[in-house]
Structure formats: C-alpha cells, structure tokens
Amino acid sequence: MAESLVFIIVSLIKSVVLVSLIMVSVMIGVYLERRILGFIQLRYGPNRCGPYGILQSVADGIKLFCKQDITLPVTEKTIYILAPLIAGVTALFPFVAIPFADKIAPDTITLFGKVFDLTKYSLNRGVIADLPGGVLFILAVSSLSVYGVLLAGWSSDNKYSFLGAMRVASQMLSYELFLGISIMGVLMITGSIRMTEIVEAQKHMWFVVYQPLGFILYMIAGFAEACRTPFDLIECENELGSGFNTEYSSMKFALFYLAEYIHIITISAIAVTLFLGGWQGPWLPSGIWFIIKVACLFIFFIWVRGTYPRVRFDQLMSVGWKYLFPIAMANLIATGICVLFL
Amino acid sequence: MENLKDYIKGVIESLPPESLVSHVEFRDQVTLVVRQVSLLEVLKILKDDFGYKYLIDVTAVDRYEDDPRFEVVYHLWCHERNCLLRVKTWASQGEPPTIPSVVGLWNTANWHERECFDMFGIVFEGHPDLRRILLWEGFDGHPLRKDYPVEGR
C-alpha cells in the first residue's frame, strides 16, 4: 500500500517537473524559432520584451490568455471545444516513456522509518514510466495527436479547416507507417523495446552510426508527423489560411500552438533516445546532455523551415508511399540480415 | 518603316473593298474603319492571312451625340512583322448597342468584351458569358458613357 503510494507520488512529482520543463522549453523554443528565423532572414526577430526579447513568449502567452475566447455557433460544439484539449494532451503523452536522464535519485530512501526500494519500476531513473513496451507505447500515442487536428478541422464548419483536416488524416496515414518501420532497425539491434535499454545499448556507439538511413527516414517522417515545413500542409497559411486552427482563438489556439511545439520536442526527444545515445555523454550530467541534443534537433527543425518551400499535397503522399516506404522496408530487411548473421 | 507601310497597304488592298469604310494614318499608326457586318470577316482575314495573331485590346469610345454612338476599337499586333493595326467599327444604333463578339477568334477578347459591356453597355452577341466584370451585378448604369456623371450620382 505504502509502496504504491510512493510510486504514485514520485511519478507525479516527475510528471509535474517534466511537464513544466516542457512548457518552459516550448516557450524557449518559440523564442528560439523566431530569433533564429530572424537571423536566417536578415531581420531582428523579437527584441523588445526583456533583454534580447527573451520574455516575448511570456508576453505572447499573457496576450493569448487575455484574448476574447470566441466560440463559434458550430454544429458539433463538444468536439469543437474538446479538439484543442486532445491536441495539447496527446502531444505530451509520449514523454511518459522517454528517458530524459540517468539516475536522479538514490536506490533506496527511508521514509517514516521504512526503507523503500526505488529501483523497482525504475523510480530512481530519469523516466516517468519505464514501460517494457516503451517504443510501442510511443508509436501508439503519438499517432493519437492526429485526432486533435482532425476533429478541430472537421468541427470548425469551415471549408479551409476541413481541407486541412483531410490533409492531416492522409498525411498521418502515410507517414505513421514508415515512421514505425524506420525505427525497427534500432529495436532489432538492441533486441528490446524498452526505452531505457535502448539508451544503455548506445553506451559505446550511437545507433545513428549503424542506422544512418533509419535516422534520415525517421527525421523525414518526424517532419511530417510534427507538420513542420516542408510538410506543414495542414496549416499552410498561403493556401488554407492556417487550415485547421483558423476558427480558434485565445487559449484554444494557444493549445494548438503549444501542441505543435511540444510535438517538435517529442519528435526530437525520440530521435535523440533512439539514434543519438539518449542522455548519454561525457563530462556533463545526463539530463543536460539530453537537453543539448534535443535543442540541436529543434534548431535543425527551425533551420529547415528557413530553407525549404512547402511540398505539394499529392507529392508528399507519393514520395511517402513510392520511395520512402520501400526504402524503409529495405533498410529493415538489411538490418535483419545483418543482425542475424553478424 | 517603309516596308511596314507597304505591308499595311497590301493588307488594305486585299481586304474586301465593301467592308472598308476608310483608313486613317496618324503618327505612323494606321486605323482601318470597317463596317460592322464585315467585322468578323476582316478580323479573320487579318488573323489568318496577315499574321495579326495577337489581339492586344478591345475597347470602346463613346461618341456622345453622334449616331451610331459607340465606336469599338480593336488593336492587333503582328508578331512576325512587329506592327500594330487598329481596326475600328461601330456598335449598332439603339439601346442596347450590339456588336458581334470576337471570342471565337481570340479567347482573350472574353474579358475585354465583358469590360466593354460593363463600362459602356455594349452587348457582344455570341459572347459565351457576358456579365459585368469590374462592377457588381445590379450596378445601375455604365460609368464610362459620357452621360454618366463623374460625381453626384
């Protein structure tokens, strides 16, 4: 009884800390994106709020909080209101299984004269829940995020939003598949789908060395999954006028906005865990390494946004199914053969 | 320049004589004034036989108080010889004034004629889709007519 209470409390603390960390990093991420895009595009970016404009995200957040929340007289009101919540919450889900640091607590603690073993359920490690099927869990919940966007676009009673929603449905369908296949190679090499074990297995060499193709494919699929340039078809302001979130305002919009950036962080975090050695690295504490790696990938996302135009909807689909999917399959088979005979 | 003049002279000579009312030259630009009945025929000859394949513009001029009132002006360009030709005719008398449409010869005439209809109220017979183009449906009057007031409508 007491043991499960400790488990709940520790997990809760970890979750709260993690969620607030993610929120802060989203804020930093938005600021970084605007500053780096500004740097790429020869302009300043935000530089008025606070030193170097670092408080810009706070200002934006306050502004969005204070905005009038316009609820449209849509037919499916429940779904219309629920959709941003779904988008925001599902974006956070995968973090449950992502190990963000090594040990963060001693193996045992003594509470009220009783010794609790924290190694059970990996409570002392930097992961909320070290699920035995971590990768599967991540794959499963990350595809849930499509519902937020889909329902939002569908319930908005707006043709542009509707088109955006239709796009996201087909986009997810084609990219979720080879996203899964592209990381199978890693699982084969490790022989486990527990996230912590995958990280441990990269102690000597990152998997990106063994699985360069897998990494590239994962990143492409990740861009599509996070709906970022060049795959930001669902919102593309130039065609659909922001697509699915056109009809949302105030905090509902903020949730979508938040979800988009959380998504980028999630994709980067998964990539770091599976291919770039997770929290492992010399000299610095493990959590710091994790943050640095995720930040690098995040900046890569921004860099791509400043460089590429947007692909066309049908081209995205055909590239996904005709080229990337077979390549991912070939990569999977080749890895299988290597694992079997070497 | 002389070559061009000869060319246009040749053009005028080969047109059916009954179709041509007159031709005017002003600042090196030739205007052919043709009868309305032979407008399509003349334009077709110009397009097919003399290389005036590019219809630059269709517009109208309101000769208020004259009868017939509306001049319709076609500007043609020959890409091979790089020369301009203006063909002019009148819309029929009466209200609304009418004239055959040249959309069958050039698709580009579509919007030009719609604009003329919008601004002058000239009806182009045989136009596939004669609607107002710049002003909205239900607009009263045709603003480029000379009897349309500039202000204080």
Partner: protein
Amino acid sequence: MRKEIIKLNVGPQHPSTHGVLRLLVELEGEVVVSCDPDIGYLHRGIEKLMENRTYHRSIPLTERVDYLAGAANSLGYVLAVERLLGISEIPERARYIRVIVAELTRIASHLFWLATHGHDLGAMTPLFYALRDREIIMDFFETWAGKRLFPNMFRVGGVARDFPDGLEQEIKKFALELPQRMRDYETLLTKNPIWINRTKGVGVLTKEEVLDYGLSGPMARGSGLNFDIRRVDPYLGYDEFEFVVPLGENGDTYDRYLIRLEEMRQSCNIILQAVDRLPKGDIMIEDYQVAFPPKDKVINGEYLIPHYLLVVKGFKAPKGEIFHHTEAPKGELGFYIVSDGSEHPYRVKIRTPSFVNLQVISKLAKGRLLSDLIALIGTIDIVLADVDR
C-alpha cells in the same frame, strides 16, 4: 461512391491572392474543377477620372495603376502623350534617366514577385532577401523624388527633377551587386527539388495558347514567344542597349521563374550601360507650350505665364488617337488615348498586363490541385490594382 463538389471562396481576403482577388473555386477533393475569378474590388475608375483631367494631372493617377511598378506606368502614359503631341526627341539625359528608372522599377517589381511567389509556395526566406534589395531601390527613388513607391517625376517632355549628386554611382553599385546577391536566392530555390517539383509542369502554356489568350511579358516569353516590346517596338532608344531577352522552353511556372530572374540581371545590365552613358545636360524640352519651364526661371515673367497656363489650363493635344505600348514589368502596358483637340483626353483606355494575364487562370487551374492554384496566382504575377484600374 458519392462525390461531392466543394465550393470554395478563395479571397477576397486570402493570404496569397495578392490583393483583393476573389476566386470562386469548385473542388472535387483537392482538385479544381472550375475556377472563376471575380475582380473589381479595387476598381477606382481611373479611366473615367482621366477624361476630366488635363494631361499632366493624370500622371499621378497612372502611377497608381500598378502600385508595385509605379514609374513604369507613368512612363507608358507620358510616352503615349508625347507620341500624341508628336514629340519624338527629348533631352538625352532625361531619356537615360527614364531608362534607368524604368529598369529599376522592373527590378523592384520582379523582386516583389520573387518574394511573394516564394512565400506562396512556402519558402519564407527569399521574401526577406528580396524585399531587402527592393528597399534599396525604394531608397533611390526617395533620394531622387522624395517618394518611394510613386516617384511621379516623369513629365511630358522630360523628367521633373534631375538625379541628385552621387545617385548614379549608388545605382551603379547596386546594379553590380544585385546579380551576385541573386545567386544567394537561387541557391535557395532554383535547384531545390521541392521548388522544382512545385513549379515544373505547373501551368504549362503553349505558344498558341499564349497568342489565343493575348498574354504578354514573362507569361509569353516563358512559352518561347519572343515578344519584348523593348526589342520589337523600341521606345526610349532601347535598341541601343545590349540585353538578352530570355525565353523559356516548356512554358511552365519554373521557366517563368527563371525568366524573371534573368530579366532582373538583364535590367542590371541595361542600368549599367545607361549610367555609363548618362550625359550632362537638360532634362526637359524647351517647348513651354507643353513642358514645364525650370523652377528657378519661373520667377521671370517670360516663363511664369506659360507655367501658369500649363498648370491651370493644361495644353491642347491635336485631334487624333494613339496607342502606345511599353514593356511594363508584368507585360504589355498600353495606353490608348483619343483626343478631341481639347485639354482633356476624350477617352483613355489603359490596357494593363495583369488584367489580360489573369484571364488565363481559369484555364490553367482546371484539373490541378488547390496548391497549384496558389502557384499559378504567383506565376501570373498580378497586382489587383493593375487588374481593376
């Protein structure tokens, strides 16, 4: 399976319709079944206004026809009026200044096109690069005329103000630098596979279709039709400048993109030649019946009276009609002026390139995707003020 057609109203408030264009689009899935442009939201009745103004007072109005290339429009108008009056020679310096300004305007317009076209297709960065360079041109205009978008310095018989000291060298420096900077833009787009996929094979026009739809400018040259009015019907002595008229082969959006980029380089080329040859001297003809006397002489009664008459009453143009076309950045800009011998034109028709070029969109968009429609609006390079007048 039941198929339903979605009627989509693209515009008049839409981020990539470049103004107040409204497209009534019927979609089947994302495929455009029909596309009907609805224009006229920016109709200001410039033609009607011009009928009631003197010839000089219309010059500022014409600049507002295509607000991204203001000087190119007033140039066309001024040349048409000069032809109507029979003025064939203007002072050399004025002529070269006109050429330089016209080409700078062309570059500015094309840069803005590059910015918006890129942004329509999702490439955000070229927008800022191109607008930076456009800003330099705007600064030139500001130095010269005090105004940025509409210099309003062309007059019948010359230009109103000479270039200030040192501006020629600045322009020369810019014309030398721009082609190098454009290499940066090209690294972002020209060989980018996504850009190529988005633009190649989109909006293909054959030569016959170009003639049929009366297209001009880069829209015509993209399909290989060698039609540049600066070459085929030279004005302002363009025949003495060396420049290449770039032609496309496939007539698609990509070719038109390459052509406009090349035109910017050629414009730089023309500017360099014009700056080098720019002579010293007058900038206005001395026929004070039609041209304004120089400002410093107006205190003298000999000049004051004609100046006064010109401002208050204007000049009388001979009876007749004239069509003059120039190569505006977006295509053929024609002014058809009918004069009845009075101080006001009897009728002015402005044949704007955007109006004619836009018409082809319903044909090009049919059977393409909604995303292609956006690319097509960009490649036609319209300005809605130019369409509606």
